[in-house]
Symmetry: C2
Subunit: 224 residues, 2 copies
Amino acid sequence: MPEATVARLPLYLRALTTLAERGVATVSSEELAASAGVNSAKLRKDLSYLGSYGTRGVGYEVDFLRHQITREIGLTQDWAVVIVGIGNLGHALANYGGFASRGFRIAALVDADPTRLGEEVAGLNVRHADELEQIVDDLGIAIGVVATPARAAQLVCDRLVAAGVTSILNFAPAIVQVPEGVDLRKVDLSTELQILAYHEQRKNGAALALTAEQAAELAEAVNG
Amino acid sequence: MPEATVARLPLYLRALTTLAERGVATVSSEELAASAGVNSAKLRKDLSYLGSYGTRGVGYEVDFLRHQITREIGLTQDWAVVIVGIGNLGHALANYGGFASRGFRIAALVDADPTRLGEEVAGLNVRHADELEQIVDDLGIAIGVVATPARAAQLVCDRLVAAGVTSILNFAPAIVQVPEGVDLRKVDLSTELQILAYHEQRKNGAALALTAEQAAELAEAVNG
DNA sequence: GCAACTTTGTGCACACGTTCACAAGCGTCT
DNA sequence: AGACGCTTGTGAACGTGTGCACAAAGTTGC
Ligand SMILES: NC(=O)c1ccc[n+]([C@@H]2O[C@H](COP(=O)([O-])OP(=O)(O)OC[C@H]3O[C@@H](n4cnc5c(N)ncnc54)[C@H](O)[C@@H]3O)[C@@H](O)[C@H]2O)c1
Ligand SMILES: NC(=O)c1ccc[n+]([C@@H]2O[C@H](COP(=O)([O-])OP(=O)(O)OC[C@H]3O[C@@H](n4cnc5c(N)ncnc54)[C@H](O)[C@@H]3O)[C@@H](O)[C@H]2O)c1
């Protein structure tokens, strides 16, 4: 299954959930594509990787398709997650309800700062980073979330990997190396803003160019 | 300039900043690529879109290249940002120091909840969503960050656009439509976790398959 | 049972992005 | 000055992803 397709399945799943909540039983690729904000041909091709779950002339059965995608992504089981670094961002993540509802259970919170230990966040006690291996082992944790400062990110990832975690989501703005077999994804908010700024600047540049052109036209109109 | 290249420039910028802090004056594409975690050919092609800023046989001058990328992205000016939705995530974002240091200034915080109004977060008073147009106008805000619940995201984006914002970063798990000319990027943590889960499941599946194969071999060895 | 209509699943062409491989260019050393 | 070694910048091949367009397959109505 193409990586691009995998990245869109959660999108379809969310759209299907919304439709299910609205009591919709059947949906066409056109409608579902609109709900998910993609092209309908792309949607159909994506779904075709799961199998032929549609009915020609009708569309897709919402609940059935939802279940198929859920199974494909692996959300029939729930996944235990550890968050490392319980600062600003770690707190927000720990308190966020949107994970549990999608099959991810925050199972442990870990920080290196002794003053944070024992603090209760979202019903969990913050535990020390030294216990990481123990925690991962005991709770069967497969996914780690890194919300420490950038300088600690590589060390924390190394420890997570050593403890047996094979999937990591990194929020720290740092390049982290992980061994083969470990999946690392990163979320970088500053990068997102910078991409927006680049396009914003070009928009303004275009606007200025237009103004210059208009000025030239104006000058021509006046002088000519 | 290809979109994929634009998305990597911030990465290079960060790597260059780290090198500059370490006092490195010159860097080869190979070294810089390693620092940024990409292929060196890709790095060179990316940089070639900016111009021929390297010296053959030597490499790139760190400070000079840093300045060129900064200018290309549009980080020579600083950008005023408004955050809409000052809940869990909004607080974390408002308190995050990493934006200011990259040329983004959190200029205003907005929420719809009357009980939050006037609350001081990160040195700013939370203002009411009704003032949005005024705020955007007065402070020259071009970039909006949406951290409201999903159901409010479309409305908030509409209002941001109406107020004149042309770049939006959306954290709410919702499909949002914006008119042409407005850039919308989204950050979806649940999607990221789901992608990790998909690969995690396949790893386990592969492990199980291996075990089954090993079991078959074992059975053969015992029986044969 | 058949014709008309709807919608899926997919072959194909095209666009985009990545990587290889190497000529061109720069600095250094003799 | 000229040979040598190193690194950039880029043409070309390759791979991945997208979107059109349509045959295949189902449903509905008569
Ligand atoms: N706050 C945000 O909105 C935001 C936005 C974008 C990126 N980030 C990034 O996310 C990361 C966390 O941001 P934050 O604002 O929460 O920072 P923070 O300083 O508030 O929290 C970091 C936490 O990590 C802990 N920590 C440090 N070293 C550790 C280690 N080795 N092991 C375990 N815990 C350790 C610290 O004790 C602290 O509690 C940073 O890398 C930041 O750049 C944050
Ligand atoms: N907290 C997290 O770590 C996290 C992680 C991933 C995604 N998200 C998403 O980010 C968004 C915010 O999450 P949160 O945990 O901060 O939620 P929250 O409920 O804590 O905060 C939402 C805030 O938005 C405000 N709001 C609601 N409607 C508004 C409107 N129309 N205009 C202005 N403000 C309005 C609310 O008053 C509240 O203060 C949600 O969509 C959530 O799904 C959050």
